[in-house]
Symmetry: C2
């Protein structure tokens, strides 16, 4: 382990205590990107994944690294999870069922893989004496927000999806563990994240369609849905920035909640424009109609990010740039479509 | 079944569709009181309870009624729950682990008995085509509220107890079932409820202590905690009033959330005064100290109840009167202390 050099890199007394890091969902889109970032920073990382949506190829390079250990396992197996976490000081809990759109087809999935899984992560931490956790929550917890851009202390919302409900339950469990067991928590409410290793979402679907039939694109809803996106490396920078600063230690309940997003949003139609321009295509557009893409879809998601910006972080890429990087990666990695079939 | 007489009792087209009612926690404090109220109104009631805290004596009279059927069962047994609910049109989901104070001793209890149990209730309803649900949530979901009196749309709070977290998860599941499956839901965020059949809480504890040692009372915290209470029959009147009016059917997401409480609060010290006056005692008071009675205790709970009052309901009893009724019932029913040992 490195010792603290009292340099400007030492953002807080706690910085170097984030050294042995456990990541759930380590083979996933965001998780595997975090693995690589942390290894590059000289941290030791234990990756945990059940490969339900994670990809072996995403951690192939990390597996060559001396400071990385991968353990195959499922968050519903509390005993194995507890054993795997031994010796770590910080947990990034990123594993989740992120299939928002089809939640109603299998309502138990969000409960098990998000709510109960988060409970197990917290219990495994408690058994190991690990108290620092970072959690990937979602801007969907605001439901159909009445205040836009939506701040962290928006009016108490009505939940509109099983996914957001299960994430909010996870947040509450984490808050309670801070209050009751002295945990230190960083809860991040993400907009949609995109970038390299992105394996589901509208860019994924649109690119797939345009590969199969370049002259035609089917769009869920009426195309006017307004959404916000964040590039994965900007997302990771934000998380690492606030954790390294130990901000939760100064918070009343030892928990800090941050919205993560850009300071702008785009319409689905804008996004289609960026994608078609990048691909040099002019497909005929067919809309399924209605202001929502599916039951529980939120026609306008735009998070207020003043709180995280006030800590000194800001994103490097615009939404259009993020979509561009995502497309280039999908073009170079078409194998992900085979894997998802 | 009665037919609608188009009288003033017909508050809405839906009124008489609330006819065959399933109650979870039917042998509990609030549940058994509701059973009696509904039977008196001519409804048919199926009671469901696992007797974990419910009492056989609370439903002894109801059991003599032709319109009441009791089924012994646990909410974690989804198959039995689904079978039990058959033929009902409305569910009052009142069963819960309500042991807020000791939640940290057994964190899994709230998850199982509140969150997972609520999921099972919803799944059993879905299997039976039942869409109307009333749910007993809690003012604790506001955490340590920054706005007092706290309205239903208070700023999005940090959760401070496993109990409130599990209830909020239950709320979210219910909201999602309204959005996704067309359910109609009434969510009630209670202050502490007291009255006949009350079997846990500060009046219960104080009366027990004063029975054992009339000259001495041990008080958790410093006695300045400010709390709000509601008499059980007022609580039931509020729930039945808004459900009979079918208010959720007019709501954007087919769910209405109501705070239930009185328009005043008392300090723990005030409550001690009422209790001692009623019992004719002047005990020596010993405070454990601190502004909280226990970890996660909220030093000030006072809910804004304008929303439910605007529907035409108001409570009949003050907090002092409610405490008086509670005490008289405890004096006449000391067997509940034996049962709780």
């Amino acid at each position: 382990m490195r010792t603290c050099l009292k340099s400007s890199a030492c953002l807080s007394a706690d910085y170097h205590s984030v050294q042995n890091i456990f990541i759930t969902g380590a083979a996933g889109f965001i998780g595997s990107s975090l693995v690589d970032r942390l290894l590059a920073e000289g941290k030791s990382v234990v990756g945990w994944d059940n490969f339900s949506t994670g990809q072996e190829r995403f951690i192939a390079e990390a597996r060559q690294h001396a400071n990385f250990k991968f353990i195959l396992g499922d968050n519903l197996d509390l005993d194995a999870l507890t054993a795997a976490m031994k010796g770590c000081d910080t947990v990034f809990h990123l594993a989740a069922n992120a299939d928002v759109r089809f939640g109603l087809n299998h309502p138990k999935k969000d409960l098990e893989q998000n709510t109960i899984a988060t409970f197990n992560v917290l219990e495994a931490m408690r058994a190991n004496g690990i108290k620092r956790i970072a959690f990937s929550s979602t801007g969907s917890v605001y439901g159909e927000a009445t205040v836009i851009p939506t701040p962290e202390d928006a009016p108490f919302p009505i939940q509109t999806s099983l996914y957001a409900t299960s994430k909010l339950a996870g947040e509450g469990l984490i808050h309670s563990y801070c209050e009751g067991y002295g945990f230190e928590a960083y809860v991040f409410r993400f907009v949609s994240i995109l970038g390299e290793r992105y394996t589901h979402g509208h860019v994924f679907d649109f690119y797939q369609q345009l590969t199969e039939h370049p002259d035609f694109l089917r769009v869920l809803g009426d195309g006017t849905q307004r959404k916000s996106y964040l590039y994965v490396q900007d997302c990771l920078s934000a998380m690492l920035h606030v954790i390294n600063a130990g901000l939760a230690l100064k918070a009343k309940h030892r928990v800090e909640v941050f919205n993560l997003g850009t300071d702008h949003y785009v319409q689905v139609n804008d996004s289609i424009g960026y994608i078609c321009k990048a691909l040099g295509l002019k497909p005929r557009l067919e809309y399924t109609g209605g202001e929502r893409g599916w039951v529980g879809d939120n026609p306008f998601i735009f998070l207020e990010t003043k709180k995280v910006r006030a800590t000194g972080w800001k994103p490097e890429l615009t939404i259009e740039q993020g979509i561009g990087r995502t497309l280039r990666w999908l073009q170079a990695n078409q194998w992900v479509y085979e894997k998802r079939k």
